[in-house]
Amino acid sequence: MKPRSKIYVPRETSSISVGADDVALGIAREAKRTGTSIELIRNGSRGATWLEPLVEVEVDGTRIAYGSVSASDVPGIFAAGLVDGGEHPRRLGPVMEIDYLARQDRWTFWRCGLIDPLSLDDFRAHKGFSALEKAFGDGADAVLDAVSDSGLRGRGGAGFPTGIKWRTVAATAADQKYIACNADEGDSGTFSDRMLMEGDPLGLIESMAIAGFAVGASKGYIYLRSEYPLTHSILSRALDVARDTGWLGTNIQDSGFDFDIELHLGAGSYVCGEETAMLESLEGKKGIVRYKPPLPAHEGLFGKPTAVNNVVTLGSVPNIVNLGAERYARMGVNRSKGTLAFQLAGNIKRGGLVEKSFGLPLRELIEDWGGGTASGRPVKAVQVGGPLGAYLTAAQLDMPLDYEAFIEIGAMIGHGGIVVFDDTVDMAQQARFAMEFCAIESCGKCTPCRIGSTRGVEVIDRMIAGENREENYDLLVELCDTMEGASLCAMGGMTPYPVRSVLQHFAEDFASSGDKP
């Protein structure tokens, strides 16, 4: 008897948002109707979001992909011999030969889309928990050395060296330490944390356990934004799988190491992605930013030493442990070592996740991977690094993706979100939105952020209305300087970045802004 054919349909937010559940249902129905024996696996996304729903079938050990499948395509694809990888207009060939995926450097996301995210067996068959086992064997110091030597920096946006942070927590004596995983991925244009948690949740659990082992923490928290309900469900189930099989809890796999994880939901506050606001929220309070020092590594959650790390930062660690720091450090450029999961979003033809070594020009991502704008019109502006990132012009796209190179021009790579706008965008409205968003989301602690953002909206409105445009221009520049210099965190401190970039490169849009608020 022929073995059951494995068919993969993502259970991932973006794929489902464009119909993956209906496709999966249709496949199950067709299989039943035709008496075909299949095993339907709900995997994570490969990251070629523009091809979602992307269906794969395993034929003689090779995964054959069918892209942009809709529920109405399913009977036809089935009739064309889906289980044998049959010819069909939707057929793309072997998934790993899709150019978009073949040319990536998958270090952190290599299991994403490949495995059944909630199957411990599948995870174990793909090196799952092998890095944690190696860490137990090598010892905590070896892990700290590897993470330091790799040059890994925080992928949440700030780019702080992870090794230094972990060493600080490890060196601080306390009866209790914590790992706090920041999964409050609030930047528009970013979804890499979500994709990793939905596609490889056990990988995150392993990563947090390694972090806990390295710094001497027995408890971890995941702070997940509430806008990700599917992620919450997948993570909850993965935590159960890990607990039920002895990979979380006391004396993990007889190592003598205790570690467990509590999953917390955010409540719609953008500032809670800032690490100290997140800690406040984890303590059940308003997400108001704390002064630093003390650093969270010294006095973090409940006053205890806490390693606060982003999902992708943590997710990069198992392969650093397994393959060695040097392999990681060989990728990238200058002080930007390793890979970043860039996210192509907004008005882009081929949106999705591209994990690449640092150093490639932004233009290559937008043109070679992204295929230019979805609308087919020229690119006018690109916002890199979320709502606090500068807008770059089409002339600036040859910038190499390197933390320091971006900082030099008043921009930032941040969490790697790249949002493309075509020439129909009204940049005055984008500057206004930056201030408006700050006004909505400011935690209120620092006056320049709390009040300045509202004043910023008003000044921009006056500029758009043509009232004393030059004086208001100067006033806005001054306001940006005040906000940047006198705000505790990046909310007030970096809202000026997108605003200034509009003043600098797109000032003419204030005169022509048609869509008045």
């Binding site: 944390d193 979500r194 806008e227 917390h264 719609g268 984890l282 059940g284 008005n347 709502p387 979100g417």
Partner: protein, 156 residues
């Protein structure tokens, strides 16, 4: 949808589920909103008593977070993403369309449907995105929006 009746015992159960801990207040409130759709004044008072915080403390947390509504929403909740990636794909026009189609401005309820803004659903490669009753939809143009809202109303 879950029952919306405010019930002291249900509130107490939720508090106990989270260990009656003040440091779990955000989680407790999230569970309250999932159950009731909003946080009523009487629940604020009860929570303050049960987790041993002042009413001002609880009120402060409730009003700080966008998720914790202090007015009852409609039976259906439609959120339209207002953030940059969706703006680049026409979310401003989509929002206008949604306001007209639902007869409600942002933060308003009409015909048992509440329209709310949301700042990023993490579906930025499938913009514009909307969330209807907790489910995220991508590549939503006005026609698809009407279809989705139609299906939502049919599910009543």
């Amino acid at each position: 949808m879950a029952t919306r009746r405010i019930d002291k015992e249900t509130t107490s159960e939720i508090v106990r589920h989270f260990g009656t801990r003040a440091d779990m207040l955000v989680q407790i409130l999230q569970a309250i909103v999932m159950r009731y759709g909003w946080v009523p004044e009487e629940t604020i008072r009860q929570l303050a008593d049960e987790v041993n915080l002042s009413r001002a403390d609880v009120f402060g947390v409730v009003t700080y977070y966008h998720d914790f509504r202090t007015e009852p929403p409609g039976n259906h909740i439609v959120k339209v993403c207002q953030a940059e990636a969706c703006q680049a794909m026409g979310s401003r026009a989509l929002t206008k369309h949604a306001r007209k189609a639902l007869g409600a401005n942002l933060h308003e309820t009409n015909d048992d449907v509440t329209l709310e803004p949301v700042y990023c659903l993490g579906n930025c490669a499938c913009a514009p995105a909307v969330m209807i009753d907790g489910k995220t939809h991508g590549r939503v143009n006005p026609a698809r929006f009407d279809e989705l809202v139609g299906a939502m109303k049919d599910s009543r």
